[in-house]
């Protein structure tokens, strides 16, 4: 089983609300990533981190922000949710020089 956990699994929230999607891993991986994915569709990198206090924007422009205060924790925050943010958000991690990513099960976000 993957040792990367995302909560909540499902979230329905109203427009304008602030939300934080949680991602934690117990593998001690330095690198962590957030992807946005419409069901069964392409993975779009929105944020990544190479370690504590390191965060970078990915290829897909996103109105979300991330923080990396602890190695194991990489939360993603939307200050003001909009219907266009409706999607699945996947968190992943890898070790330095690693041979692949370990993905969480995702958070399915619906903004109404």
């Amino acid at each position: 089983e993957a040792d990367i956990y995302q909560t909540p699994r499902y979230l329905v929230i109203g427009t304008g609300k602030k939300i934080t999607l949680e991602c934690s891993q117990t593998m001690g991986h330095d690198k962590m990533y957030w992807y946005q994915q419409d069901p069964g569709m392409e993975l779009h990198l929105i944020h990544y981190s190479y370690g504590v206090n390191s965060t970078e924007k990915g290829d897909l422009s996103s109105e979300s922000t991330v923080s990396r205060i602890r190695t194991e924790h990489f939360p993603l925050t939307l200050e003001s949710a909009r219907p266009s943010h409706t999607s699945q958000y996947l968190c992943a991690s890898s070790e330095q020089g690693g041979y692949g990513y370990t993905f969480g099960s995702g958070t399915r976000l619906t903004v109404v």
Binding site: A2, K31, P39, G40, M41, E42, L43, Y48, L90, A92, S94, Q96, G97, G98, Y99, G100, Y101, T102, F103, G104, S105, G106
Partner: protein
């Protein structure tokens, strides 16, 4: 140059058939090529991977074929089963040791 192209977008085969998913890349600095399998409601999971100095790798019913000169690689699923129905992503590792993913192929294996 950071792109990985993948085809087909979707694929339907009968049980026992051999679906083939193809990927291509331009960046010769890519040095590792994994495939991921994703079931609905789950995150992608690493399925099988290959290094560019190897032309073929087999694990169970899954085989990767790699053509370094053509910068192409493909996934073959032998004796496919309905349980193989999923979305498959090819990927490539870049110089920063991050992975670039193809756009995915939705496979349906009919009983």
């Amino acid at each position: 140059q950071q792109q990985v192209k993948q085809s087909p977008q979707s694929l339907i085969v009968q049980k026992g058939g051999i679906p083939i998913i193809n990927c291509a890349y331009e960046n010769t600095a890519f040095d590792y090529f994994p495939w991921y399998q994703q079931f609905p409601g789950k995150g992608p999971a690493l399925l099988i991977a290959i290094r560019p100095d190897v032309s073929e790798k087999k694990e169970g019913r899954f085989t990767i074929s790699f053509n370094k000169s053509a910068k192409q690689f493909s996934l073959h699923i032998m004796d496919s089963q309905p349980g193989d129905s999923a979305t498959y992503f090819c990927a490539a590792r870049d110089y920063g040791q991050n992975f670039v993913f193809g756009p995915g192929t939705r496979l349906s294996v009919l009983p």
